[in-house]
């Protein structure tokens, strides 16, 4: 079971790879509009990569509802026990 910090670091690495940026100052309250290049296409690519990385699946409406990085981490956290049960 990964900790919240570990999940956050994994997601930040994914964001950096998708947006092709080396330096990223990001916190749990950071929203997509605060990061250059994080548009709706990048967002769904990030979400798909996160799903693949953690072996989880988000709901369609859930992806659109996530407002910031913190909510993304929480969504991954809530899915992780489901995965371990399976």
């Amino acid at each position: 079971m990964q900790t919240r910090i570990e999940i956050m670091n994994e997601i930040i690495t994914i964001i950096k790879n998708v947006l092709k940026i080396e330096q990223l100052n990001i916190t749990e309250t950071t929203i997509a509009q605060d990061v250059l290049g994080w548009d709706s296409l990048s967002h769904i690519v990030i979400m798909t990569t996160v799903e693949k990385k953690f072996g989880i699946k988000f709901k369609a409406a859930e992806i659109a509802r996530m407002k910031n990085l913190g909510e993304m981490i929480s969504a991954v956290e809530t899915r992780m026990p489901e995965k371990s049960v399976c």
Binding site: V18, K20, L36, G37, D39, S40, L41, S42, I44, V45, M47, T48, T49, E51, K59, A60, A61, E62, I63, A64
Partner: protein
């Protein structure tokens, strides 16, 4: 029943007064449903004409409960095929059944479809639970008088929470009327005075004039202005009327004339439709494409493929002619080029574009390019254009289109600059008297138009496809 019809206003305000005095939940429920049925039935002359709507609503309701009781990929697929298939038949995309007066008897079906599809997917994915569904809420969600004809497409959960709250706790007061009046007046001014004005300019330049680039530019921009004013005016009216009954409808427009680029227009124009397409068509498609090796390392390529699929569907949704198919393809081409250019700018932070981006004139120019593209391709949606070949006949030659495009940019830049100055003046606190004066003038214009200028202009021109 049109929104500028006296009967509509009488229905709304008499229902509002009834809503003030009625506290009983069951009677309030009945009232909301009664107003919605009265509004919907006003579009039909005979009971026979109701058959398509009744069939479609019954299919949608059955599909919803089928997926709710058997949530699986199979039940969702069967339900989507049934609902979309029936829609395609009724709207004559698959002309199995012929209707005599198509435009009126299938009115409202397009928006019911885009409330039904997200609801079905959300139920299957357990975003919405079975116990959140009730026959009354689902029926009202589908035919509510506020959203039946033109949207906005509200999320079912938000709608249900508002309905349940309104039936128990909402206390309507006369202050609600005073609060919503300025936006209501603005909406009616756009719908009754401004939109027809631009429609007449469009008609003068498109139908009765020669095919010069200047005429094409003025007609294209006027038609876009007409659609914007007609549609956003309708939204102003419906959103302000919604507040009387305790509804907080989502906004559908956010100053699209200030969009940074063509992609940004879709964050500001018909927002709820764009969001619905993004969440339930574009995103799932990208997720599927990313599973393939071809697209896995090429997100832009996946994006372009998904843009073409999504915007073609969006174009066809507007109408079943080849002109709308072409319209969808041109929208997709625009957003794809925009995305590729945007990505290359991000990859080159020292590019010319990034250096001069902060200058307002350059921003206006970039907005102008996007608005000009949107207005020129909207030729496909002109009422006089019936098929794709007629779109090309309006375009005449490539030189003609390029000239018209440049002219639209210049005309748009001039009006955009003037409008922004007027907007600043109206919001300047030292000129606080200007806003009420403007509202008074708008009210006088509306009354004058209703009394003196009863022309055969129907706001239904715009709605008949939906």
């Amino acid at each position: 029943m049109k929104l500028d019809d006296f009967n509509f206003l009488f229905l709304i305000f008499s229902s509002f007064i009834a809503f003030i005095y009625i506290k009983n939940e069951a009677i309030r429920k009945g009232l909301l449903l009664g107003v919605s049925f009265t509004f919907v039935f006003s579009f039909y002359d005979t009971a026979q004409q109701l058959i398509p709507l009744v069939c479609f609503l019954s299919t949608v309701v059955c599909a919803i409960w089928y997926v709710a009781f058997r949530p699986s990929k199979f039940s969702l697929a069967v339900s989507l095929i049934a609902v979309v298939g029936l829609f395609l038949m009724l709207k004559q995309y698959i002309p199995i059944i012929k209707f005599q007066s198509l435009s009126l008897i299938t009115v409202g079906l397009s928006y019911i479809l885009f409330r039904a599809i997200p609801l079905l997917i959300d139920i299957k994915e357990h975003t919405i639970n079975k116990n959140e569904l009730s026959f009354f809420n689902v029926l009202l969600y589908m035919i509510c008088f506020l959203t039946f004809l033109t949207g906005p497409i509200q999320n079912y959960t938000e709608f249900r929470v508002q309905v349940d709250h309104n039936l128990f706790n909402y206390q309507p007061r006369f202050e609600h009327v005073l609060k919503m009046l300025p936006r209501l007046v603005l909406g009616y001014f756009k719908l009754i005075c401004a939109a027809p004005f631009f429609y007449q300019i469009y008609e003068l330049c498109s139908v009765y004039s020669d095919k010069s680039a200047l005429n094409l530019a003025i007609a294209a921009l006027s038609f876009l202005a007409y659609v914007y004013l007609n549609f956003s005016g309708t939204m102003d009216i419906l959103i302000s009327i919604g507040t009387l009954f305790g509804f907080e409808l989502p906004e559908n427009f956010n100053k699209p004339y200030l969009a940074k680029n063509f992609l940004d227009i879709w964050n500001r124009w018909h927002i709820t439709l764009s969001q619905t397409f993004k969440i339930y068509v574009f995103n799932p498609l990208i997720r599927q494409l990313m599973a393939w090796n071809l697209f896995n390392q090429r997100p832009i390529l996946a994006g372009v493929a998904a843009y073409f699929f999504t915007f073609t569907i969006l174009g066809i949704w507007h109408g079943n002619s080849s002109a709308f198919f072409l319209f969808g393809l041109m929208l997709a081409t625009g957003v794809s080029i925009n995305k590729i250019v945007e990505q290359s700018m991000l990859n080159h932070p020292n590019s010319f574009d990034n250096k001069i981006n902060q200058y307002p004139l350059y921003s206006t120019f970039k907005t102008g390019i996007a608005v000009a593209y949107f207005s020129i391709i909207s030729v496909a949606a002109w009422p006089v254009v019936q098929n794709a070949s007629q779109v090309f006949s309006v375009f005449n030659t490539t030189k003609h289109v390029v000239e018209a495009w440049l002219l639209v940019i210049i005309i748009f830049a001039f009006f955009s600059h003037t409008a922004q100055n007027v907007y600043k003046l109206l919001n300047d606190k030292s000129h606080h008297y200007l806003k009420p004066v403007m509202q008074g003038i708008m009210l006088v214009c509306i009354v004058a138009k209703e009394i003196l200028g009863q022309q055969e202009f129907s706001s239904l021109i715009f709605y008949q496809n939906f």
